[in-house]
Symmetry: C2
Subunit: 263 residues, 2 copies
DNA sequence: TAGAAGTGGAGGGAATATCTCCAGTTAAGG
DNA sequence: CCTTAACTGGAGATATTCCCTCCACTTCTA
């Protein structure tokens, strides 16, 4: 007699009534897969293959596919909470006394999250990936973001012709600056966010001090050479080391937000 | 006895002593290929396959490969003059009386060229494509650009912490805004260039009027849905029509530069 | 009209990605 | 400790995609 394995998987995934817990070793493997996927998606984006994820996790592909019937299921399992974090961020940013600081806080933290997680950026900016749950969460972000923008405009800090819909494009733009420079300097995107923020203020006398020096000529060439080609896939040596701590662990850190402090 | 066919091709390519002119029909086909490549590279980027170019040109792949021994040769043949045009633009921009206008002129025209030609953007921002000749031309651009930036800074218009190396990144950023929005509105990148330029001025009282309205919520969703997936390759119907006028023909137009006028 | 020049597009070869299958291994429960 | 259901690895089926070659056939040219 056959047990519906998918049902077990799904139930575990959804956290509801579990017909039967996973066998101990299976559970260990499942966690390895999740950890591996989190790390590789963050570093190489959502186009990472399940084969790579399996190899990096130290398990066979079959194991991955039994636990997650499709790539989308895996993405959904991983990113639901991350998108929820963005939603929370948006709501928190509404509680700043200074509406401009709320606006800057939202942008800086959002882009910081995306800078550390290429997969998250792809998920947020595109509609290709992510299933129903992610889609619903994404929709909910719209409202608080509208309010963040309106508040900052009403207070006279944010230029009045800025639109809430510009947020997505601005995010994509800084994301590009990040992808272009990250190979040389991981926090260089902040420089370009300051440029842009100085353009979004309703008025200003001076410029905001920049948190980073510009790239040198050689660094630009390096960035150019690595752009779009920059490690699209893990290389062999990537698989030899065990999974080191994943960057995403830092994401909820209250790390210093340079730009917010400057403003 | 065998004639070195490559030599013929190359000689024709290089415009120097031609051992023998191409047969009439061959010459026609060669031009069809160039025209087709120009159009498809502009629309879909340099990753367009030679198979697609051949099909769109209405010739066989073999014909393409006899004329252009490799994809790189074809790219080089097409883009040498385009990169030269950028170099000319940089030099011209130095002749503006107002250094700020020179700076804006350079950025707006450069990005305008790239917005109409995805292949050109890829060629400029990356080192992957383009052979020796293109590389040399690209290097020559550095000097006048340095001067454009320095002049605008010296005159007190451009913020003093801006670096000439920021130009590449800024170009990439606006390029992303363009790719994100172009499907909905081809000139939307100008909106984001104004945002950014307002951030690059040393000081300002007010904001510059925007040349475009922001996207509507539905338009953002459309853009999201099409981003990165947005027609990566020509579809079947693309090949049925003959080559319509290529966008690149407009590139040297002295079309109205909205932003320059506004400033 | 001979034969050199040119042509189309099938298909070889090399990647890449997703997902299936099953002989063999391992944990859990009696 | 032994049985057996659960689980495992990874080869390989299937399906793409892309670059480029090859050659029987066609077309131009002298």
């Amino acid at each position: 007699m056959l047990v519906d394995k998918d049902a077990v998987g799904r139930a575990t995934e959804m956290g509801d009534l579990s017909p039967r817990p996973l066998r101990k070793d299976a559970e260990v493997n499942r966690e390895r897969v999740l950890r591996s996927a989190r790390e590789l998606f963050a570093r190489y984006g959502l186009q990472t293959t399940l084969d790579d994820i399996a190899r990096h996790a130290g398990v066979g592909v079959g194991t991955v596919y039994r636990r997650f019937p499709s790539k989308e299921a895996l993405v959904e399992a991983l990113f639901e909470q991350r998108v929820q974090a963005i939603l929370d961020l948006a709501k928190n940013s509404l509680e700043f006394d200074d509406p401009w600081k709320g606006f800057v806080n939202f942008l800086e933290r959002l882009i910081s999250m995306e800078a550390k997680d290429r997969g998250l950026r792809e998920l947020v900016l595109s509609n290709d990936y992510g299933g129903e749950k992610v889609r619903l969460l994404k929709e909910q972000i719209e409202e608080p973001v509208n309010e963040i923008v309106d508040r900052a405009k009403r207070a006279g800090y944010l230029r009045s012709d800025f639109s809430a819909t510009d947020i997505v494009v601005v995010t994509a733009m800084i994301g590009t600056a990040d992808e272009y420079c990250a190979y040389v300097d991981e926090s260089m995107w902040k420089r370009y966010l300051v440029f842009l923020l100085d353009g979004l203020r309703a008025s200003r006398e001076l410029t905001t001090p920049l948190p980073n020096e510009g790239l040198s000529v050689d660094e630009v060439k390096e960035a150019m050479g690595n752009w779009k080609r920059r490690v699209q896939r893990p290389n062999a040596s990537e698989f030899l080391r065990g999974s080191p701590g994943c960057k995403q662990d830092e994401i909820f850190d209250h790390q210093n937000l340079t730009i917010l402090d400057i403003q």
